[in-house]
Every structure is written in structure tokens, then in C-alpha cells.
């Protein structure tokens, strides 16, 4: 079954990129990792489209590549240069502890998805726990990072993984829904970029901890 092998391989590479992203210290490198991850995901979509025989999914893969590999990384890079912090990603936990927890999350994902993988009705089913692990790691990244910009990266990873779960479990949701989600994410990133810029202008920092002082 080349279909199953290819999707599994791409899923593993996807999760690997998540881990590599976590290990980078500079923002620019993280954005690059994200672009690579999105590229892998776009390839996965194309593979599913090819073997699943869905023409719609091809166009989804193309649009996905356009937005997530080219547009969003560019926007993020622009934000990085504007704000001018190349390093100082400032997580709460150090790299090794982060990796340890993420490994634990992968285990949890496999454990939780065991009933789904046991069904074996789809050739793509083995990738689902990996995608779910991506969801958990993305969410954890938003928790762990202090800076607003890196939280955006966590959110984008989370979104990528949700897309991947949909792709593997149902061979993609209808085109119109997919397009809506793409536009949402794109707009969200643009708005967040502006906000991050504003936050920095007004508070001299993009450390979201300072927002705590707004509490009543």
C-alpha cells in the first residue's frame, strides 16, 4: 500500500517539524520551520487527493501551500523585523523540559486515539494520532511561550494539525469550508500582526504577562 506508507511518512515528518520548531531559539528560524511544516502538509493533501481521487483536494493543497508556505511566513517575518527581536523567544520552560512534555503529549495522543486506529477502515488511519499530537503540542506552545508572536506560531501549528486530522480522517472537508478556514486564519494572522505591533507600541513590550495588570 504506497498510499498508507506515503501518508504515514509525511505525517511523521509533520510531527518532526513541530519538534524542530520547538528546538529553535530564533524567531526567524521558527517561522522557517513552520513554512516547511506547512509545505509537508500541503504535500500530504496532494497525496491524499491523488490516491483518494479528489480533484477538489488538489486545489485545496495548492491554496494551502500559497497561504501557509508563502503569505503567512512572509507576514510573520515582516513582523519579526519590525519588532526587531531575533532571539529571546522566552518560554517558561527550557528546551529540554519542553521536549520532554511534548513527548509525553505524543504518548497521550496515541493512547487517546487507540480506539480510532483500531478501526483500520482507512489507509490513512495511522497518521491520526500524529496529527492529534500536533494539536496538543500546538496548544502547549501557546501556553509555554511568553511573547505574543510565538503564541501566534503555536496557534498556527494547532490550526495546521486540525486541518491534518480532517484530512486524514475524512479526506478533507468540503472545499467551501476549507476556503473559509483559510481566509479566517489569514485574516487572524494579519490582525494579530497589527495587534502585536500595537501592543509593543503602547506597552513597550509584547510580553503578554503585562496584560495581567488590566485585571479588575
Amino acid at each position: 500500500m504506497p498510499f498508507a506508507r506515503i501518508t504515514n511518512l509525511l505525517s511523521f515528518i509533520f510531527l518532526l517539524m513541530s519538534f524542530l520548531l520547538l528546538m529553535q531559539n530564533s524567531l526567524a528560524a521558527q517561522v522557517r520551520m513552520f513554512a516547511v511544516q506547512s509545505g509537508v502538509l500541503s504535500a500530504l493533501a496532494a497525496a491524499v487527493a491523488f490516491f483518494g481521487g479528489s480533484k477538489e483536494l488538489f486545489s485545496v493543497a495548492v491554496v494551502f501551500a500559497l497561504i501557509k508556505v508563502i503569505v503567512i511566513p512572509n507576514v510573520l517575518n515582516r513582523a519579526v523585523t519590525k519588532i526587531g527581536i531575533q532571539r529571546a523567544v522566552a518560554p517558561y520552560l527550557g528546551t529540554s523540559a519542553t521536549l520532554g512534555i511534548c513527548a509525553g503529549l505524543v504518548v497521550v495522543a496515541f493512547y487517546a486515539m487507540a480506539p480510532v486506529t483500531a478501526l483500520k477502515r482507512l489507509p490513512t488511519v495511522d497518521g491520526i494520532p500524529l496529527a492529534f499530537a500536533g494539536v496538543l503540542i500546538g496548544l502547549f506552545t501557546t501556553v509555554n511561550r511568553r511573547r505574543a508572536l510565538t503564541q501566534i506560531l503555536g496557534f498556527l501549528m494547532l490550526e495546521n494539525s486540525v486541518f491534518m486530522v480532517a484530512l486524514l480522517a475524512t479526506y478533507g472537508v468540503p472545499l467551501i469550508v476549507e476556503m473559509g478556514v483559510f481566509l479566517d486564519v489569514l485574516v487572524a494572522v494579519l490582525i494579530l500582526e497589527v495587534f502585536v505591533y500595537r501592543i509593543r507600541e503602547n506597552f513597550e513590550s509584547i510580553d503578554v504577562q503585562h496584560l495581567g495588570s488590566l485585571r479588575g
Binding site: V108, A112, A114, L139, F140, T142, V143, V208, L214
Partner: protein, 673 residues
């Protein structure tokens, strides 16, 4: 019959809907707005009156609208005689209040639209609560009623006192609603249906422990609406804070719906219960009646005095309801009906005279700009009509013939005295204590309203504002006049109410009340006790005429002397010489010192030369409530302590919120596994 009831019902709803829309459309034209909105409330309540008459004579309707809210059976409405009787109470209280509000609300210039709108929600919500036939409908309109009345209480939200009162009201109503939710859902679960009219049939199959639990939580929920002690704390704060016509509707009508719910749950929905249900209600009634009137007696705020008096009257009503439950537990059906007739008669009477008194108090407060009785006095000369109506209301609420309060209190006494039919000594003792409590309540209530009327309307003016007081407007007088006539009519011709009421109770309980009556006399339990209200009234008229004629015929010279009231032959007579409200209450404060836990302070400022030349004396004597100090204060402290702990969760840190999401997601995933 069925058709006409449905048509009447839908046109009632149309009236209130038009009133609510009218409030929004003419929001800018204040005068038009108050006329339109309250006009529609008046019209709608007249139609409710029609619907209730139809229902009391056996008209019924059923309306199932499962499509409007397609879950838990949708909306289900129905009319039976008991619902019809409570519709009568709603109509009697609301119609005069709406008439009164047409000119009364001119003093709230910016708020006429919102007040009118909310009243047009509040009144139909009360009607629909009474007509509700399933859980969803009941809870939905119960909550609508609570919320609409909350907004009405908050009319003068610029005063901090109002906001506090409103907040307390909201908290108490939702604590009550939580109790009702638990009870309703537990009962639906146990009986397997959301249709409350089915519950009576399946109740006997339900585990007794479950039924006891449901009874306790639901009684707590309904009693918090009724304002019975110990759930009364919102009542003496919310009623004074609300505009007077709203206080009248809340005190006269809304709190009766708590009694309605209690009667439904205890007599119908839960089937035959153990005797202790009745004993609990009887004790709550006795305590509410006695403590209510004792607290009313020491109030100097005219409207809180009336509010505490509502607690007292709810207590008297509960004495009837509790006695009914006890009789039924010992299979004395016809006595149970008699007790319930007494309780419901008092419900109607209280709706009439308490509405009258609140409307009268509203007219007084509007003219004097104070609720403090110590600054009133001498108002009878300036507002003779309002004073006269207030006097009639006071006589009626004090239970004096020939007014309506006398009849219902007499019936309650008879129901309690017939308790010797119950073969349990402990319960006989309980009844004896209740009789004593009711007798004492009646006496204290008379003292309380001597104070309310005497200090407010008689003697010399105590404050400057009294001099500018004028008689109330014509519509306000008309509404009070209508209620006064009703007080007299139901006191002289009680058969007007007893006939439909005993049919209602006969249908509801299944036994006819042990009561026979015709146009001039009532006899309870064969000839256990008989009165002839009509002849009593006639004898009263004849006696007064005789005295008047006698004095004219044989009396000495009858020339008028103009002299100051309570002059006592003093050379100088000022308002400072008068008996004050505080002085009136003082003996009671001394006798019942244990209950009032009063704080007394006297400050005397003397002339620097000699301490015998006193310049001013300041005297303060505040009373505190045992229940608030010993029940609510610890609860409030505990809630505050827990809230302070829970506040730590709310750190304001985005990361911790994200962390909560992650933990919740993981927990959910692992739990679902």
C-alpha cells in the same frame, strides 16, 4: 365555552404585546407613553378578570404549542378553577395599580418607556405562570416574572440603596429558582414526564424519600418568592425601593404566586404526603405571621412597614395552607378544603387591601417626598380622600368587621380550632400554639396600623414638606376607591367569593369544604361557628346612626370649637409635643427586646453653663433582625471566603487561561477514553 376562553386568552396577550410595543414606539412622548402602556395593562388585566370569571364557572382551555420551543414538550398552557382563582387575584391587584400608574408615573419622566415596557412583560408572565402546565413553561415564565420585577424594582437605580435592594432581590430569586429547578427536574426524572398534570397520578409510585426531598426544596423555592420567614429578607428592601404601583403589584399579587406553587406541589403534584409537611408549613406560617407583624410595628419607613406586614399576611395564608395539609394527611378532606378556602380567601383579601395601602402610601410619599413617618403627620386635612381610603385599608388589614380581612381571619381561626378532629396530641398542641400566634398577630396588626394611620395622617405636620401636600389625582383616587369598595363588598357579602372559591377547592381536593353559607351568614363545620357578616354591618350602621341621632336629640349644645389636635391644654402646641412613631413602638421594643436585639443610644447636648439646660437630645433606637444575623450573615461570609479563593483562578494571565484549556482538553480526552 372552550372557544371563548381561548379567544379571551389570546386577546389578553395581544393587549400586553401592544402595550410593550407601545412603550417602545412612544418612548419619546412621555405623557402619551404612560397613558398608552398603563392603559394596555389596565385593559389586559380587565380581560384577565374576564378569563378568571370564565374559569371559575367551569370554563377551561388547553393550549399546546410544542413548536415554539421544541424541547421538553414545548409550551403547554391550561386553565382550571385553581388557576382561575389566582387569575382573579392577579386581575384584582393589577387593574387598579395600572389605573393608578397612569398619573402616578408622571414623576419618573425619563423612565416611563422602560417602566411601561417591563410592566407589560411582568403582568402576562404572572398570568402564564398560573396557566403553565409543564415544567418548561412554568420555569420560563417564573424567571420572566422575576427578571421583569427586578427591572421594575431597579427603576430608581441612581440611588445606591435601590441597587442593593435589587441585588438582594435578584440573589434571593435565583437561589429560589435553583431550588425549584432541582425539585422540578428530580420530579420529572422520577415520574418520567415533564407534564405536571400527570405527576399526581404517578406520585404514589415514587419513593417517599425522593418525594420528601422534592417537597423540601420546592417549598423553599416557593416560600422565597412568597417572602415567608426565613426567606423574607428581600421583601422589606425591594418593596420600599420600587415605585409604589410596582410595590403594590409585587406585594399584592406576585408573592401570592409562591403560595400558588406551594399549594400545587403540596396538594396536587406530590400526591398525599406525610403529616409533617403540613406541620412545617404551619410552623413557618405562625412564625412569619408573628415576627412579620412585630417587625412591621417598629418600622418608621411607611413602605417597609407595609412590606413587613406582607410577611405577616403570608404567614396567615400559610396557616390556612398548613392546616389544610395536616387535615388531608389524616383523611379529613372536607376540613382540608375549609382550611384551604380560608387561606385562599385571605390571599384575595390581602391582594385587595395591600394593593390599596401601597397605592395610598405611594400617594403620600409622592407628596411629602419622604418615606419616613416621623416627617409626616397632619396629612388627613390635606389629602382627605387618600387618608380615608388608607383608613379603610388599615381597618381591613387589621381584621376588623365589616371589612374583608375579618372574614378570612375568622375562617382561618375556625379551621385551626377544628383541629381537635386530628387524633394526635402533639399536633393538637401545635394547632393551639398557632391559634395563639394568630390571635396575637391580629392584635399586633391592629396596633401596627393604628401607628401607620395615626402617625402618618393625624396630628400636626412634623415636617415642612407636608404643607405642600395636595390630594392625589383623580385616576389615583378612583383606583383606591375601587379597592376600598372591594374591601367592603367582600366583608359584607362574602358569599360573592365563597361560592366560586368552594367550588374551586372542591374540584381541586375532591371534597367539598365543610362550610355552608348564604347571602347573610356563614357557618363552619355545621354549626361549630356561625357569623352573619351582612347583619353585622347593618347593626354597625344602625348603632352609629343611633349614637349620632341620640347625640343630636339629647346631647347638650353642639357648637364646634376649633382647637389644636391633642392640645392637652398647653399654652404652646408644636409638632415636637406629639407622639412619635418611635414612641409608639417603644413599649413593644421593650417587651420583645429579645427579638429586636435593639441598639439604643441617647446623646444629650447641654448648655455649657448648666447641664440642666438641654440644647438637643438625639435618640437612636435601631432594631436588628435575628434571622439576618444568625442565618444570612454566616452564609454571606462563607460565600465571600470561597469567592476569594476562587478568585485566584482568575489570574488575569493569558497563559494560565490557555493552560486551563489544555488541561481541560487532556482531561476530556482521557475521560472519554
Amino acid at each position: 365555552m372552550l372557544e371563548s376562553a381561548t379567544i379571551l386568552f389570546s386577546s389578553t396577550l395581544m393587549f400586553f404585546a401592544s402595550g410593550a410595543i407601545g412603550a417602545l414606539v412612544c418612548a419619546r412622548h412621555h405623557d402619551l407613553c404612560r397613558r398608552v402602556t398603563h392603559g394596555f395593562v389596565f385593559g389586559g388585566s380587565v380581560l384577565i378578570f374576564g378569563l378568571s370569571i370564565l374559569g371559575l364557572f367551569g370554563g377551561r382551555f388547553e393550549l399546546l404549542l410544542p413548536g415554539i420551543l421544541p424541547f421538553a414538550g414545548g409550551l403547554a398552557l391550561g386553565l382550571d378553577r385553581l388557576s382561575a382563582f389566582f387569575l382573579l387575584i392577579i386581575a384584582t391587584g393589577v387593574a387598579p395599580s395600572a389605573l393608578y400608574a397612569i398619573s402616578y408615573t408622571r414623576h419618573y419622566p425619563q423612565k416611563q418607556s422602560s417602566m411601561g415596557f417591563m410592566l407589560n412583560i411582568f403582568v402576562p408572565a404572572m398570568m402564564l405562570v398560573v396557566l403553565a402546565r409543564n415544567v418548561l413553561t412554568f420555569l420560563l415564565f417564573w424567571e420572566a416574572m422575576s427578571l421583569a420585577s427586578y427591572f421594575l424594582v431597579m427603576t430608581e437605580s441612581e440611588h445606591e440603596e435601590t441597587c442593593k435592594a435589587g441585588w438582594l432581590y435578584l440573589v434571593m430569586m435565583h437561589a429560589g429558582l435553583a431550588c425549584l429547578l432541582i425539585g422540578f427536574l428530580a420530579m420529572s426524572q422520577a415520574s418520567g414526564t415533564f407534564d405536571m398534570s400527570e405527576w399526581a397520578r404517578s406520585a404514589s409510585g415514587i419513593d417517599m424519600g425522593m418525594r420528601n426531598l422534592v417537597f423540601l426544596v420546592m417549598a423553599a423555592g416557593f416560600l422565597s418568592k412568597a417572602g415567608a420567614i426565613p426567606f423574607h429578607v428581600w421583601l422589606p428592601r425591594a418593596h420600599p425601593a420600587a415605585p409604589s404601583h410596582v410595590s403594590a403589584v409585587m406585594s399584592g399579587v406576585m408573592i401570592k404566586l409562591g403560595v400558588y406553587g406551594l399549594i400545587r406541589i403540596a396538594f396536587e403534584w406530590l400526591g398525599q404526603g406525610p403529616a409533617w409537611w403540613g406541620a412545617v408549613i404551619l410552623m413557618v406560617g405562625a412564625v412569619s405571621a408573628l415576627l412579620g407583624v412585630l417587625y412591621a410595628l417598629v418600622q418608621h419607613d411607611l413602605k417597609s412597614l407595609l412590606a413587613f406586614s406582607s410577611v405577616e399576611n403570608i404567614g396567615i395564608i400559610l396557616l390556612g395552607v398548613g392546616a389544610g395539609l395536616l387535615f388531608r394527611a389524616y383523611n379529613l378532606g372536607s376540613l382540608a378544603s375549609l382550611a384551604l378556602v380560608a387561606g385562599l380567601y385571605h390571599c384575595l383579601n390581602h391582594a385587595i387591601f395591600k394593593t390599596l395601602l401601597f397605592l395610598g402610601a405611594g400617594a403620600v410619599v409622592e407628596e411629602t417626598h419622604t418615606r419616613n413617618m416621623e416627617e409626616m403627620g397632619g396629612l388627613l386635612k390635606r389629602m382627605p380622600h387618600t387618608g380615608g381610603y388608607f383608613l379603610i385599608g388599615s381597618l381591613a388589614i387589621a381584621g376588623l368587621p365589616p371589612f374583608n380581612g375579618f372574614i378570612s381571619e375568622w375562617l382561618t381561626f375556625q379551621a385551626l380550632m377544628l383541629s381537635f378532629n386530628i387524633p394526635v396530641q402533639f399536633l393538637n398542641l401545635l394547632f393551639a400554639l398557632s391559634i395563639a400566634a394568630l390571635a396575637m398577630t391580629a392584635g399586633l396588626a391592629a396596633a401596627c396600623f393604628v401607628k401607620a394611620f395615626g402617625i402618618t395622617f393625624l396630628a400636626l405636620p412634623r415636617g415642612e414638606t407636608v404643607d405642600q401636600a395636595h390630594e392625589a389625582s383623580r385616576t389615583m383616587r378612583a383606583s383606591m376607591g375601587l379597592l376600598s369598595v372591594a374591601c367592603l363588598a367582600l366583608g359584607v357579602l362574602p358569599a360573592l367569593v365563597l361560592r366560586p372559591l368552594s367550588n374551586t377547592i372542591a374540584e381541586f381536593i375532591g371534597d367539598r369544604p365543610e362550610l355552608s353559607f348564604n347571602w347573610n351568614n356563614i357557618s363552619a363545620a355545621d354549626v361549630f361557628a356561625v357569623i352573619a357578616p351582612f347583619w353585622m354591618a347593618m347593626i354597625l350602621v344602625v348603632l352609629i346612626l343611633t349614637v349620632w341621632v341620640g347625640l343630636h336629640a339629647f346631647g347638650t349644645n353642639f357648637h364646634r370649637r376649633y382647637y389644636e389636635t391633642w392640645g392637652c391644654g398647653r399654652a404652646l402646641q408644636t409638632a415636637a409635643f406629639e407622639y412619635t412613631a418611635a414612641a409608639f413602638a417603644y413599649p413593644f421594643k421593650r417587651v420583645f427586646a429579645l427579638l429586636y436585639r435593639s441598639i439604643e443610644e441617647t446623646e444629650i447636648e447641654a448648655h455649657p453653663e448648666s447641664r440642666f439646660f438641654v440644647k438637643t437630645i438625639t435618640y437612636r433606637h435601631e432594631t436588628r433582625s435575628i434571622i439576618e444575623d444568625s442565618v444570612y450573615a454566616p452564609i454571606a461570609a462563607t460565600v465571600r471566603r470561597l469567592a476569594a479563593k476562587a478568585r485566584k483562578l482568575q489570574s488575569g494571565n493569558v497563559h494560565s487561561y490557555l493552560f486551563y484549556i489544555l488541561v481541560a482538553l487532556l482531561a476530556l480526552v482521557l475521560f472519554a477514553k
